[in-house]
């Protein structure tokens, strides 16, 4: 094993551009609370579930940014950062680094700057992002279909055939829904739309997946208009 830096599966850019991206990460308010110096001791790798399955090393992330190795950071930003499951098991670092949170920041830089590798990495999540952002709740029961989750076994079909009944059997009334994880009231969803609009989340989505952005805008603008926010536009 070891780092294979010989094959670039992504566009190479000038050193100045790599440095600009790295500086953007370093200017994040969280940066100096998640990166100190790296002993390169490997305790984060020892604790990392992803490292057991992928050629992924939170240590390499930490040491690359600690050494300010601009080329390597760019490589990792295009590749390794997407192998992390963001569980933060690595937070046991004796220097109090958080490779997981360093990765959070690097991912955000990758998304903000519309790196193709970020688009590729997030492509498979479009359905989930759509669900969360349009309904205000996460994976919904009606996504549980036998063809979507064949590896979950035969009982998935049985459950999905009678989804309404199963959901109604749950005690809290807020769960008597199949299209969302739970009932999200109108005020909450309108506030979520406004927050995503005002904090620039929608701009991020536009940069990473324009199709998804357009679908979301349709849904959001319609509901916002109904709620009286007819002056809000996402363009």
């Amino acid at each position: 094993m070891g780092l294979d830096l010989s094959i670039n599966k992504y566009a190479d850019v000038s050193y100045d551009e790599k440095e600009r991206l790295f500086e953007e990460a370093k200017s994040d308010d969280r940066w100096h609370h998640v990166l100190y110096g790296c002993y390169e001791c490997g305790i984060c790798v020892a604790a990392c579930p992803s490292a057991r399955f992928y050629d992924f090393s939170p240590r390499v992330i930490a040491q690359a940014v600690a050494r300010e190795d601009v080329d390597l950071v760019y490589t990792l930003m295009n590749d390794s950062v997407w192998d992390c499951s963001q569980c933060f098991s690595c937070d046991r670092c004796p220097r109090q680094n958080s490779p997981g949170q360093i990765i959070t920041v690097l991912r955000e830089v990758a998304v903000r700057n519309g790196l193709q590798t970020a688009k590729d990495a997030l492509e498979g999540y479009g359905r989930i992002i759509y669900k969360i952002m349009s309904t205000g709740s996460q994976v919904s029961p009606d996504m549980l279909q036998p063809d979507a989750f064949p590896d979950w076994g035969g009982h998935v079909k049985e459950i999905s055939d009678n989804l309404d009944v199963w959901r109604k059997a749950l005690p809290p009334e807020t769960l008597h829904t199949t299209e969302t994880g739970w009932v999200v009231d109108d005020k909450t969803i309108i506030e979520l739309y406004l927050i995503w609009h005002m904090t620039g989340v929608m701009d991020l989505i536009e940069g990473i997946d324009e199709g998804l952005f357009m679908i979301l805008v349709d849904v959001m603008e319609e509901r916002l208009e109904e709620a009286g926010y007819d002056d809000i536009t996402f363009d």
């Binding site: 070891g2 780092l3 110096g37 790296c38 390499v60 040491q63 600690a66 050494r67 390597l72």
Partner: protein, 352 residues
């Protein structure tokens, strides 16, 4: 007639601290120094700032010199070299040459504080080319440059854009014969790395190491600030060769934790040379018949619980003549030696 004087050989930090301690306790110290001035290696090699606190070395050593100068209980014999000794505890008769003429010193006990010398990188086992490349220097050379206030490349007189330290030069090396760790070089390199980053902020600084050895508070006082605040790059891996490339140097080694071979261009390389016994240490050990260890440092016999007693009753050794030592070790063992030397004299005075 027993003598209550204590002969201290060596006017560096260890010898000065031992003499000061003896004087403070009301005994007389005879402080012998080969050079014509006190201060030892920090003075002779023109240290700029001490490790770990970056205190101005001239000022700090100056205070030690002042404490033994014009001190009624300290007799200073500079420009003086010990040549022979006879007698035993309570009654040593030591001959010395002072500025060409022979003198005799009577002492009840002796403290040897003859120190170390820096490893000569001409003997290194790697191919660093200290005597070939102007921009390959030692920690000692770099200290002089820092003291001058003008940290520049020797070849051009311009400020370097990149500097690499190479650790363990002349230490921890079976082929050279110095198997021991010299103890201070990791701290000195890190201290100098901080100073270089302060003097030349746009200069990148790398430290190539086998292990970083920064005990106790050196960890949080030097190592962490160097890495976290001053962005010094620590790379675990030894360089094996330095070659000239264009106007600069090319350092060849392995970046072990990233598992990749490495060839990095550098404007300057600083070799972290270790410690060896000084010539004076070897000569004085022989004059007093003190056993030396396989590295030619003077052997103490008390293990970790007594760092200063030698095989000869009434003769003590302190500081870096007994092995690699930092200033903290040196002045601490100086105090212990002063106490034990006085104890040795007082015991003679006690009737059986």
């Amino acid at each position: 007639m027993a003598s209550e004087n204590i002969l201290v050989i060596g006017g560096g930090p260890t010898g000065m601290e031992a003499a000061r301690g003896i004087a403070d306790l009301g005994y007389k110290a005879i402080l012998v120094e080969k050079r014509d001035r006190l201060g030892g290696t920090p003075d002779e090699a023109q240290y700029a700032a001490l490790t770990p606190d970056l205190r101005n070395a001239e000022e700090a050593i100056g205070e030690m010199v002042a404490a033994v100068t014009d001190n009624p209980n300290v007799e200073l014999l500079t420009g003086t070299t010990v040549t022979s000794s006879e007698g035993e505890v309570g009654n040593f008769k030591v001959k010395a040459v002072q500025n060409g003429s022979e003198i005799e010193i009577e002492a009840g006990a002796v403290i040897v504080a003859t120190g170390f010398q820096h490893f000569d990188p001409g003997r290194e086992t790697q191919k660093y080319g200290y005597y070939e490349h102007d921009d390959v220097v030692t920690l000692v050379d770099a200290e002089k440059l820092l003291k001058s206030g003008n940290f520049v490349r020797p070849s051009t007189g311009e400020k370097p854009k990149s500097v690499a330290f190479i650790q363990c030069v002349g230490s921890r090396d079976r082929q050279i014969g110095n198997e021991y760790c010299s103890k201070v070089c990791c701290g000195m390199s890190s201290k100098q790395a901080i100073e270089i980053r302060q003097h030349v902020p746009d200069c990148k600084v790398y430290i190539f190491y086998i292990d970083m050895r920064m005990y106790g508070y050196w960890e949080n006082e030097i190592y962490w600030p160097a890495q976290e605040k001053y962005k010094v790059n620590y790379i675990k891996g030894m360089a094996t060769e330095i070659i000239k490339k264009g106007d600069g140097l090319l350092v060849k080694g392995e970046d072990t934790t990233l598992r990749r071979p490495m060839e990095i261009p550098m404007d300057m390389v600083i070799l972290a040379v270790g410690m060896e016994p000084s010539e004076g240490t070897k000569v004085v050990a022989d004059i007093f018949g003190l056993p030396k260890n396989k590295y030619n440092f003077i052997e103490t016999i008390g293990g970790p619980l007594n760092t200063v007693s030698t095989e000869k009753a009434g003769i003590f050794a302190a500081g870096a003549c007994t092995g690699p030592a930092d200033l903290e070790d040196s002045v601490s063992s100086a105090g212990a030696a002063a106490m034990k030397a006085i104890s040795a004299i007082r015991k003679i005075g006690v009737p059986a």
